[in-house]
């Protein structure tokens, strides 16, 4: 089980705001790693930096041995990293099918795309029923499924998920987390950002805790879930 993603001492700024301060983290092949932290801690900023939407001022990001910090976002997808962004960001004025097709934008293997679309429909049967529907008319849960299906269409080796539980009912959250575990078991490494620390720690192998741009704790997910610091700050007691 080799290291897949290595982030080494990155600093990310929004203008003068120093959002990420010397963060290092690793994701090994086959893992689910979760990054938890309060509002504004910088979780999304880290994912957006990995995806290339933001450039770190200093530090390095290596994916499967290749330096990707500073590469344009549309090139990073091709290396095998895909993101489900915060708030889903589906293309509301396009159909479910078109959203999924866009997920496969970098691919040319027509048969492979078709097969992967079938897999997405197996995983999310509700999307198949709504294939021609405009994505903006889907329910919140269906939109989350679409965003995940769309990200899977690039056949990523590393899937970045930014708060997939946001705004969903508890039952649906459970369903989504089961699907994340399932995606992981079928060979996709997952880096999961969550505010719902309870759920995230229950499915993750390892975890990092982020506070105002710095990693303050890291380790085995079960151990962190049991630790006093994490329980007080993130698990409500």
């Amino acid at each position: 089980m080799g290291t897949m993603l290595t982030i080494n001492d990155i600093n990310v700024f929004y203008g003068a705001i120093h959002a990420i301060k010397g963060v290092s983290l690793e994701v090994n092949e086959g893992e689910i790693v979760t990054l938890i932290g309060a509002n504004g801690a910088g979780k999304s900023t880290i994912l957006r930096t990995i995806s290339g939407l933001l450039k770190p001022k200093t530090g390095s990001i290596q994916f499967e041995g290749q330096e990707i910090a500073g590469m344009p976002a549309h090139e990073i997808v091709k290396t095998g990293i895909s993101q489900v962004p915060e708030g889903r960001r589906i293309f509301a004025e396009m159909s479910v099918l078109e959203n999924l097709e866009l997920g496969a934008f970098t691919r040319k293997d027509k048969d492979g795309i078709k097969a992967d679309m079938e897999l997405v429909f197996e995983r999310f049967p509700r999307l198949k029923e709504r294939i021609g529907q405009l994505a903006g008319t889907l329910s919140g849960g269906e939109q989350q499924m679409l965003a995940m299906g769309r990200a899977l269409m690039s056949r990523p080796r590393l899937l970045l998920l930014d708060e997939p539980s946001m705004g969903l009912a508890p039952l649906l959250i459970k369903e989504i987390f089961t699907i994340i575990q399932d995606i992981n078991k079928t060979g996709t490494t997952v880096l999961l950002v969550e505010q719902n620390a309870n759920m995230a720690l229950s499915i993750a192998h390892r975890a990092y805790v982020l506070e105002t741009g710095r990693i303050t704790l890291s380790g085995d997910a079960k151990e962190l879930a049991a630790s006093d610091e994490v329980r007080k700050a993130y698990l409500g007691g």
């Binding site: 995806s51 290339g52 939407l53 344009p72 976002a73 549309h74 997808v77 091709k78 895909s82 993101q83 962004p85 708030g87 889903r88 960001r89 589906i90 293309f91 509301a92 004025e93 396009m94 078109e98 097709e101 866009l102 997920g103 934008f105 970098t106 994505a135 903006g136 889907l138 329910s139 919140g140 939109q143 769309r150 690039s154 705004g167």
Partner: protein, 295 residues
């Protein structure tokens, strides 16, 4: 009966004039959709298109359709060059800087054209025989047929590109949400460049068709139609392609009716009165929606 007759005749004139506005408005709205820029140089791109068509006919001796195609290709490339040199360096600049740059590009194209082709208006050669068709009691002349026919064909092609091709889907995705489009692996710079190319090519077609229709072109000919097409794009809902077409046709029809029944002096006033009314009562335009995705 006489009133009705004149009304329908003005409708025909209005639709052909409106087709021209629609072609220009499409470029406005596509470019606005993708980089949120009101490209004030768009009317001048249309003027350059008219001149390229003019020289293709007079110097190279081409007939109208090849001249139109050449003008579209060359002007499309010009649009890409303008974007690359003037707007791309300002991708992360405040919007007002880009807007001011667009005004600069507009002046540059107008006065560079004056320098190279002289400010004197040119008489556009007669490229199609002046015939008139009688459709029942109404008259449609050859130029109008040409304008409406070519506009229709170009719109069908554009619809196909935007709806069915991969690049068209990338365009729609990037117009909706450029960051997420990049997460899909879409190269936003390429899509923007392509959008300028298509928008400029459509404007060039409008320029050549206007040359055919009014027989006269000059380096400042783009100012008024540019503004009118902007009104059309706002009327239809800026950023919405069918809106640009509808806005263009509606504007053309209103202008024709105003010139036919009131006086052609009020034509331009009517167009800008529409702009004011739309901005007052429905700023999102006829096709504009206020709702977006659920969160």
């Amino acid at each position: 009966m006489d009133f009705l007759h004149q009304f329908v005749q003005q409708l025909i004139n209005g639709v052909s004039l409106g087709s021209i506005y629609a072609l220009i408005a499409l470029g406005y709205t596509m470019i606005y959709g993708i980089i949120k820029l009101i490209n004030f140089a768009h009317g001048d791109i249309y003027m350059v298109g008219a001149y390229i068509g003019f020289f293709a006919i007079t110097r190279a001796g081409l007939s109208i359709v090849p001249a139109l195609l050449i003008s579209m290709v060359v002007t499309g490339i010009l649009g890409m060059i303008v974007e690359r040199l003037a707007y791309k360096p300002l991708r992360h600049a405040p919007r007002i800087s880009v807007l001011i740059t667009a005004i600069g590009v507009s002046f540059f194209l107008e006065y560079a054209s004056m320098y190279f082709v002289s400010p004197t208006p040119r008489t556009f050669p007669e490229v199609i025989p002046s015939v008139a068709f009688n459709v029942g009691p109404f008259i449609v002349n050859g130029q109008q047929m040409l304008i409406m026919g070519i506009t229709l064909v170009l719109m069908l092609i554009l619809t196909y590109i935007v709806q069915k091709t991969k690049l068209g889907k990338a365009m729609r995705a990037a117009s909706f949400d450029v960051e997420t489009a990049q997460l899909m692996g879409i190269n936003a710079d390429r899509v923007i460049s392509f959008t300028f190319c298509i928008g400029s090519a459509l404007a060039a077609a409008a320029g050549v068709l206007v040359g055919v229709y009014y027989n006269s072109i000059d380096p400042l000919m783009g100012i008024m139609p540019g503004l009118k097409a902007f009104v059309a794009a706002v009327l239809g809902g800026i950023g919405i392609l069918p809106g640009a077409v509808a806005g263009g046709i509606i504007l053309g029809v209103i202008e024709a009716l105003v010139s036919g029944f009131i006086s052609s002096t009020f034509r331009d006033a009517a167009a800008f009165a529409i702009l004011i009314l739309v901005l007052l009562f429905k700023p999102s335009g006829i096709f504009g929606k206020n709702t977006r995705e659920k969160v």
